[in-house]
Symmetry: C2
């Protein structure tokens, strides 16, 4: 019987090394003769540069170079616009070092390369910049008013993009609806805060004539291709490696100034150059996300069925749009969630401000979408005096309605088309887990009777995952019996080495530890984009599966030929291919790999050498000398994961603190490759979602100064703030890919703001408040619950 | 019109770098923290090791390690037998460091690794070995006599292999022949003497977890696979690079002790370790070739037509047979040359001796074969008073007789089957070049009348080239427009970067300098064997052609799809694919490479971005995101190059010196990729052949001491000794491969001993001598021409 490996909760192959301190992050790598870079960053949100005097810095002992825009050769080009969009009519990208203007606090202005980081940092202080201050644009609502100062004078507007999406006939639907409710809903600015900040180490290797770059990037191939094009090198002369990376969360996918400047410095100076972002730099030098202001309306019939939704929102783009308008596009497309919205008008403006640029952060526009949708449904329930679960039941897309078209074009350019799911089943599973009826009818009244402010919330969501364009993988059985797997994906903790190995081990029926997964290194695989959009398992995993299946076929065909039997008479079991019922007639995979190659391997122990009758080429035309396949998988459109969460929270109205008494999760990512890894992703996402719901807010003042750019001031949940959660799984396999999988990387982060809003609002019913803004800090709650004292 | 690039005498792409001193050979590479290795080598030809005391050496300042057999872990395994053969009934390979016995002067006994080579060499002298001398076996004729001491006691014989090949019925043919002539013919021991000796540099790269080895090898993939198997590493954890290599000539294809010990030391010691062979080490530590003693008989009819040949020869194997019996097999199969030999008996014994092991050296058994065959034909001509050219004419295989089977199994295990040729035409072309009739009838008598000892010789030969099993290549058009070509071949001067680029440039109609050829680096290509047997252009060139044609097809198909025209309406010219007659409707190759990939390239200048209507996967199933192909070519059997050479020599009987007055060459290697490179190969081969004919002889004394192990004592021709030669080409395309090419790497070296013997014999007709031994040194000639003084 074949051994089941796919779907088993095997332990992460990554952990023994990482947990015993043997991880190797970029900053752990030191190369002989290495120099260190530091960046002078703008202290002003908006200013013109009149002059920069670097002479004093240059003369400091240990300083090797001090560069401004004038000095950076090919890096003088504007940074690339990675994802254009027709509605992004006014894009803007920065210069690697500011040319004549800065547009946010933290923008790189000069670069010092020195013998040590200490010297480099000291030298930064010796650089004198003559500034001409310009009026900062911070408030995005004011930014679109006539007469507002402009972030980019030359664009003539602060509106980078204006998008309108229409499904059905929203105008008519609103006109005839039984009820219309309107909300103004805000999600504040936040950002990914990986424990490992960004880092780049680069060296020009004269032995291999190779620019070698270690980078914390989520997309080494993108960086490799960019560097090759920028420096006019052959792509094979650039190797980008993302080694162990300590968290990414989206903010590490970009082409950042440091990612071109550090390699350039290594090439020009002929010595390795390293730069590791410090935490302050991360707050002001790495992209943010989240701030959107929605004006949303929902129209329902008398029974609470959605007739139409209209949403107009402002999206804070920050100072530049290097990643296009992916985030608000996702918000727009995913806002309807698991519900039927027959008429839908969505419209946004992406607005420039003199703040850090915005690009996706785990969730990537989806927390906003779920927050808006779920808040609207809660409002409907409350207004029509319906149970909140019941309102959802009445609006779900039904299991027989897949594939289901939302009617808009998704972030990947393909239709927003849900592939499969069972939303009613998912909710019922959640309610059952929660013992919802008893909870709401008995537990809540009992606790409230004790004077406690407790509340129950539920929230449902969908997540477009596994988008294209494609990923690829090479699978090869080595003559040693080891199986080599290479992909273009890096990881920042997602356990690719485990789950991709499971896919291969299942196909070849070999032990997991026979599979070696190489990832995040352009020397191993060089086509693909990277890890983002909850796509690795779906797109890369599928490519791995296709390649492994092809290798399996190659092995079966070769064994059949050697054994002179039909492929149908063979089985693959116990790491071998053999004749059904005659296990002694067969080969190990190592033996098959050796047989595939007419060349003997010196020293190969269990060598199978069969002198072939050479009546023709030893390698017949079309045959390769290896069991090896490179396959690509390109999805027709996204796969749609979904989930439902429930919580019982308690609010301490004296302090404004929110405590989870219970947290339930139902998640559906199709077939699970490894339930342990899926749960880890869900746990992590939920934790991050709790951060977004209760803690994480980047606070800019009106001058564009980030007031809480440290972990003393910017709060994130610790393990203490994360409750134990009960996770249940539903599996609705995706019909789109060979594994039936959907993505799970961002899942948990999406519904938590909506959930916390619902539960806290429920807890605070005595105060009659509506929660319309995230995160929900104690101060806000205190004000809500003490209106008389804050009036 | 397509531009012709294939077949053009373009200049070598390699030369600007090499000629301006920018070559990078292994010894040019120094790595931080590098250690240096030196080897203690046996001073005795045959001895048992009683004890080795390394204590004094270990205690020397700067010495890091002193290893003997006991210390070398996995390297304790016997060195591999690379090419087994059924008739090699008594194989023997060495230990990387002698275990308990040494079998030739120069065999590695201990290894010192130290901070510098100076320290390491000094430490060698402090190692004390207690030897028990054993009787050395040097004379291979005595070695097969009963009671001879044995090289390998445990084998019970000095005969490693006994081979008998029979075609037709030689016994009967000899019995009925009109004439039978017999010769004893000897070719002395010699060896390849590349200007760059062998060298190995190895490092364990902890950043990439990679064993990286730079090695002067002709077969980096073989070394890579051997090291991976020996050390239990995944093959991808070992990278072997043959950078610039200064000559190979066959002796650099092997797995030598230093090639496993230096990498092992780098892994164990955690520091880079380098070893560069000195010249003395090269003489006694790198394999030799050539010594064979033939007892040959030819049977002819009354008109000088060959009826049968019988040849029994002894082949000196040296102390071990790591490369099997390839050399004498080649001699046996190629002896009939371009002539019809209907009945043929060939038999050899490969005999062990306490000398350096024998493996192929440019020519690889063929100079011996041509020497025997041509000497026999000259004898026939002289005995039957026929012109030497006329005897050959009467015996040639005719152009209509291809494919022609010799009747024996060749070195590659396939039939010795000549694919194509025109031997009569080749000889007539040579004679025409020489103005043979005038030369022989007028010039010679005139010169001789002046009292000068002048003679004319001709010699013809065939060369089995381009053997399997296979080679492969990857060709990829980069989005930058550069074309990447990777193969498993290294080079030692054969201009692969030029000729492989020509093949690709021709197919894609792009400038030569747009093609970048990566070779000799397992990081770029990892299946294949290496450069030997005049096979690179044939086997690797064909793989490159197949891959380039596939890429061309991919480009045409993509352009046809984009332009909505049929492939047949497109042309490939000027680096573009466009509609015939409408050059503006088309794409550069760079544009096509970008179109092939649904992913945009940041910074790519001439980016073609076409928003595709995404109605399905952006990368359709079966489509890859690149114009890229990896193809393998596996020949059914060898291709057969051929040649004819002629010379007018003059002998100074007072000094025994031989001078070329004229040297003519006709060579046929099928289609020429680059006539300039072909001529370079022919010139080099001829020079080496002149060395073999007049200078190169390794002289062992009866104790197994090599008496002339330096360039003071071992003579090689310099530019002064090489005459101007007239080279003409004949092209009989090979029907076996897509390019119609045959190999040319060893060509010139093959016929020269036969040619010189013929011409000198002709010059010395007044003395009635027969030349039966090569090389022909002045001393020998002096003795021949002064019989009275040497009697």
């Amino acid at each position: 019987m074949p051994t089941r490996i796919f779907g088993e909760p095997v332990k992460r192959a990554e952990d023994p090394r990482l947990l015993t301190g043997h991880g190797r992050y970029v900053d752990d790598i030191d190369l002989p003769g290495q120099l260190h870079a530091a960046f002078l960053r703008s202290p002003l949100a908006h200013a013109r540069i009149r002059a920069i005097d670097v002479r004093a810095a240059q003369e400091m002992a240990g300083v090797v170079a001090v560069w401004t825009y004038q000095d950076i050769g090919p890096c003088q080009r504007r940074m690339p616009l990675l994802i254009p969009h027709p509605d992004l009519t006014h894009p803007a990208t920065r210069y690697a070092l500011a040319k004549d203007e800065v547009n946010h606090v933290g923008e790189p202005v000069a670069m010092v390369i020195a013998e040590s980081r200490y010297v480099a940092e000291d030298a930064l202080e010796a650089i004198v910049v003559e500034w001409e201050e310009l009026p900062p644009v911070v408030d995005i609502e004011r930014a679109i008013e006539p007469g507002s100062p402009l972030v980019h004078e030359e664009l003539g507007t602060n509106v980078a993009a204006h998008y309108v999406g229409v499904v059905g006939d929203p105008e008519a639907a609103f006109a005839r609806a039984a009820h219309v409710f309107r909300e103004r809903l805000v999600i504040e600015r936040s950002a990914g805060m990986p424990l490992e900040t960004r880092a780049v180490l680069a060296t020009w290797d004269p032995v291999h004539e190779l620019l070698e770059v270690w980078d914390t990037t989520q997309a080494p191939i993108v960086i490799r291709n960019a560097l090759a094009a920028l420096f006019g090198l052959a792509p094979t002369q650039v190797r980008v490696v993302a080694p162990d990376v300590g968290g990414g969360f989206g903010c590490k996918i970009m082409v950042y100034p440091e990612e071109v400047l550090v390699p350039y410095a290594a090439m020009v100076l002929g010595r390795p150059v390293k730069w590791t972002e410090d935490r302050l730099e991360h707050f002001v030098g790495t992209n943010h996300e989240r701030l959107q202001i929605h004006e949303a309306e929902i129209a329902v019939d008398a029974e609470g069925r959605i007739v139409a939704i209209r949403d107009r929102f402002l999206h804070d783009a920050g100072a530049y749009t290097p990643y296009g308008i992916i985030v608000p596009i996702i918000t727009a497309c995913q806002l309807p969630g698991p519900y039927k919205v027959p008429n839908y008008h969505v419209e946004f403006r992406a607005v420039y401000s003199n703040t850090v640029p915005v690009s996706p952060y785990r969730g990537a526009g989806r927390p906003h979408a779920a927050f808006v949708m779920e808040r609207l449904l809660d409002r409907v329930a409350d207004e029509l005096a319906l149970d909140r679960a019941e309102v959802r039941r009445r609006n779900f897309i039904q299991p027989h309605e897949f594939p289901y078209d939302v009617g808009l074009i998704f972030q990947d350019g393909a239709p927003t088309r849900y592939d499969s799911g069972n939303y009613p089943g998912m909710l019922e599973l959640l309610l059952q887990q929660m013992d919802y009826e008893r909870l709401v009818r008995e537990e809540l009244p009992r606790l409230r009777a004790e004077g406690r402010f407790v509340g129950v919330g539920i929230a449902c969501y969908v997540e477009g995952t596994g988008i294209g364009p494609y990923e690829g993988a090479t699978v090869r059985v080595e003559p040693t019996g080891q199986v080599y797997v290479a992909t273009g994906m890096p990881q920042q903790g997602q356990a690719h080495k485990t789950v991709l190995a499971q896919i291969v081990a299942e196909e070849l029926q070999i032990p997991l530890d026979a599979v070696q997964v190489f990832e995040g290194d352009t020397a191993h695989f060089q086509f693909g984009s990277g890890t983002y959009a909850s796509r690795s398992a779906v797109v890369c995993g599928s490519a791995v599966a296709l390649a492994a299946r092809k290798v399996r076929e190659q092995g079966l065909a070769l064994a059949a030929e050697e054994l002179e039997v039909a492929v149908e008479d063979l089985v693959v079991e116990d790491g071998r291919v053999f004749v059904r019922g005659a296990p002694e007639r067969g080969f190990t995979w190592a033996q098959l790999a050796q047989l595939a190659n007419p060349l003997r391997y010196a020293y190969a122990g269990d060598l199978v050498v069969r002198p072939r009758p050479w009546t023709g080429p030893t390698l017949p035309p079309g045959r390769q000398p290896a069991l090896e396949a490179t396959e690509y998988y390109s999805p027709p459109h996204a796969t749609w994961a979904s989930g439902a969460v429930g919580a019982l929270v308690e609010v301490d109205v004296a302090t404004g603190m929110v405590t989870f008494r219970k947290l339930w999760v139902v998640h559906d990512c199709g077939k699970m490759i490894n339930p342990l890894v899926v749960e880890g992703q869900v746990h992590g996402g939920i934790a991050q979602g709790i951060g977004g719901a209760l803690y994480e807010k980047l606070h800019y003042d009106e001058n564009g100064q980030l007031l809480n750019a440290s972990f003393m001031d910017f709060l994130m949940p610790t393990a203490m703030e994360i409750p134990r959660m009960e996770v249940a799984h539903q599996e609705t396999p995706s019909p789109l890919n060979p594994l039936g999988v959907k993505g799970v990387g961002e899942a948990g982060a999406i519904p938590l703001p909506a959930l916390v809003a619902a539960a806290v609002e429920d807890a605070l019913r005595p105060f009659g408040v509506r929660i319309t803004r995230m995160p929900l800090d104690p101060d806000t709650i205190w004000r809500m619950t003490h209106p008389e004292e804050t009036a």
